[in-house]
């Protein structure tokens, strides 16, 4: 059981790490999408079927498209997707900060006596989730809907060009 988890985790972490160190931003984005897919496999492994498919639908289907469109809309020519390397001090300091945070978190996790729950996967059907979302959590659902609508409108307003102005420039 743990072997599958290590496999999923290893692939996910490798994809994310390689993505963050690549120069070509399109390759970075595609590898990160692979890493998000790995997260959804983790959800599937943990038995949260609905969250796993929602993750694929939202991240691999929607966020990835927004990211790729944004990359293509913010470049002057084809070579523009190759990002210039960062300064050495910046990379080293970022690695130092990240490494120390990682050390802190991992030692905290390993040092805490965590209660181990049931061995078998808890069953949570989509119907249970639906009743929860439409009943006790209805307010949260409504707020999430409002946030999404506002974000959609905001994104359109921000990204839309004033066509007249665009012609003049």
């Amino acid at each position: 059981m743990n072997l599958i988890l290590v496999l999923i985790g290893g692939l996910m972490l490798t994809a994310a790490a390689v993505a963050m160190s690549l120069r070509n931003i399109i390759h970075s984005a595609l590898l990160l999408i692979g890493s998000w897919l790995g997260v959804s496999f983790f959800y599937l492994w943990a038995g949260a079927e609905f969250v796993a498919f929602a993750q694929v639908l939202v991240y691999v289907g929607a966020v990835s498209m927004v990211v790729l469109f944004a990359v293509l809309l913010t470049r002057r020519d084809r070579q523009d997707v190759v990002v210039a390397p960062e300064t050495r001090t910046r990379a080293i300091s970022a690695l130092l900060v990240g490494g120390s945070v990682a050390g802190l978190l991992v030692s905290a996790v390993l040092g805490t006596p965590l209660a181990t729950g049931p061995a078998e996967t808890p069953t949570l059907t989509v119907k249970d989730l639906g009743t929860l979302l439409a009943g006790p959590q209805a307010a949260g659902l409504l707020i999430a809907g409002v946030i999404l609508t506002v974000a959609l409108l905001g994104a359109v307003v921000l990204a839309a060009t004033d066509s007249g102005k665009e012609d003049a420039s």
């Binding site: 399109i26 595609l30 999408i33 079927e49 609905f50 498919f53 929602a54 694929v56 639908l57 691999v60 289907g61 929607a62 990835s64 498209m65 790729l68 469109f69 293509l72 084809r78 059907t125 989509v126 119907k127």
Partner: protein, 395 residues
């Protein structure tokens, strides 16, 4: 006899898995399901291409392919040999890895959506609780492969048409989902097998309880099929590759077997989407009449699937290609509002479930009016200011 026929695929599977030791049986039965899908739908794909060419030929008053084998029945295999032996050209400046990965991924994502379609009473590869969500998650992943194809070709026309294709797919994702939501509302489950079971039963033994035979279901099926045609890039929504106008869109730099893989993925995607349509609206594997239940359920599924696909071929032979602005306008101004209204309609249908007697007629009338009146009004508004088409040279 009927029960044996119904369980025949399962018996074959158990017979084969019987040869293996107990610990690996689950693996063998899983692999067998994959092999069965690949074999059946591989062959189905091969003959679908032939059927499409034959039908298109008949629609256009020509015989269609008839030289290879009797009645041209070996044509798909000749095509396969041709695709395999063609030179595989990769542009010098192409992103080699992505260029190779794109056709593989597009076929893989097309195939994995078959996993949740109930082909028969006992024939469902994976019976997931969130099957419909899984189907759409697999469907949207193929958009990524499309982007990769356009990007990796290192050709600005490929890139632009890939972005156009993506815009089309994203626009039509919305009506597709809006058409599916009423079915999920009314059957109260995301599992495809339970949705089919919920459509069982007959009134007077002849009228099946399929979703398509209700006002909201009919509208939903209509929207679903239009969106499905657009999602699979088929005529009249085939602008991404519009053979006669553009070169081949994002497939321009693909040749040989890689091109054939894209072609295959299109047909797999079409079969899977039509299969979902049959499952959600046309009663899946349920027989149309009570006494016809002697025919095994998987035969009914394939018959319904083939009928739906035949209708798509008919549409392809009949309708003209849309322009890109007409295409997005149809999605956002016509299908999406109609889908939203249909959602309310389904809610009404759910709330009025216990109406009986003469109230039943009122229920049908209200439900039909709710969908027909907006249909006419939105249609009128969208087509106002456009003169009726005149045919100057055709009489």
């Amino acid at each position: 006899m009927t029960a044996t026929l119904e369980r025949l695929p399962l018996l074959v599977r158990d017979w084969i898995t019987g040869f293996f030791p107990e610990p690996v049986r689950w693996l063998v039965s899983g692999l067998l399901a994959i092999v069965a899908i690949l074999a059946v739908f591989g062959l189905y794909f091969a003959y679908l291409t032939l059927a499409e060419r034959k039908f298109l030929g008949r629609f256009q008053n020509r015989p269609g392919p008839n030289r290879t084998g009797p009645f041209g029945l070996l044509q798909p295999f000749a095509d396969a040999v041709k695709a395999l032996t063609k030179e595989d050209i990769v542009p010098q400046a192409a992103d080699k890895l992505l260029h190779f990965l794109a056709p593989c991924l597009v076929v893989a994502f097309g195939l994995i959506s078959f996993a949740v379609i109930p082909f028969g009473r006992y024939l469902i590869p994976v019976d997931l609780d969130a099957a419909v969500l899984y189907f759409f998650a697999a469907g949207v992943s193929s958009e990524l492969a499309l982007f990769m194809a356009g990007w990796a070709s290192h050709n600005k026309y490929s890139m632009i048409s890939a972005m156009r294709a993506l815009a089309q797919l994203i626009s039509y994702e919305l009506p597709l989902l809006l058409a599916v939501v009423p079915v999920i509302m009314l059957s109260g489950t995301l599992s495809t097998s339970k949705i089919v079971v919920a459509q069982g039963g007959w009134t007077f033994g002849i009228i099946p309880h399929w979703n398509v035979l209700t006002p909201w279901g009919f509208a939903g099926f209509f929207i679903f099929m239009i969106a499905a045609v657009a999602e699979t890039n088929r005529s009249p929504f085939d602008l991404p590759e519009a053979e006669s106008e553009l070169i081949a869109g994002h497939l321009t730099e693909y040749s040989g077997f890689k091109y054939a893989l894209f072609f295959m993925a299109e047909y797999f995607g079409m079969s899977a989407l039509c299969g979902l349509g049959v499952t959600l609206f046309l009663g899946g594997w349920q027989a149309p009449i009570d006494i016809l239940q002697v025919v095994p359920s998987y035969v009914w599924f394939m018959v319904k699937l083939s009928c739906v696909i035949f209708c798509l071929m008919w549409v392809r032979a009949t309708l003209l290609r849309l322009r890109i602005d007409q295409l997005t306008r149809l999605a956002w101004k016509f299908l999406v509002p109609l889908g939203l209204i249909n959602l309310g309609n389904a809610a009404f249908w759910h709330l009025s479930a216990d109406w009986s007697g003469p109230l039943q007629i009122v229920r049908w009338a209200i439900s039909a009016a709710v969908i027909v009146i907006p249909f006419v009004l939105i249609g009128r508004t969208l087509s106002s200011g456009l003169a009726p088409r005149t045919y100057r040279y055709a009489t």
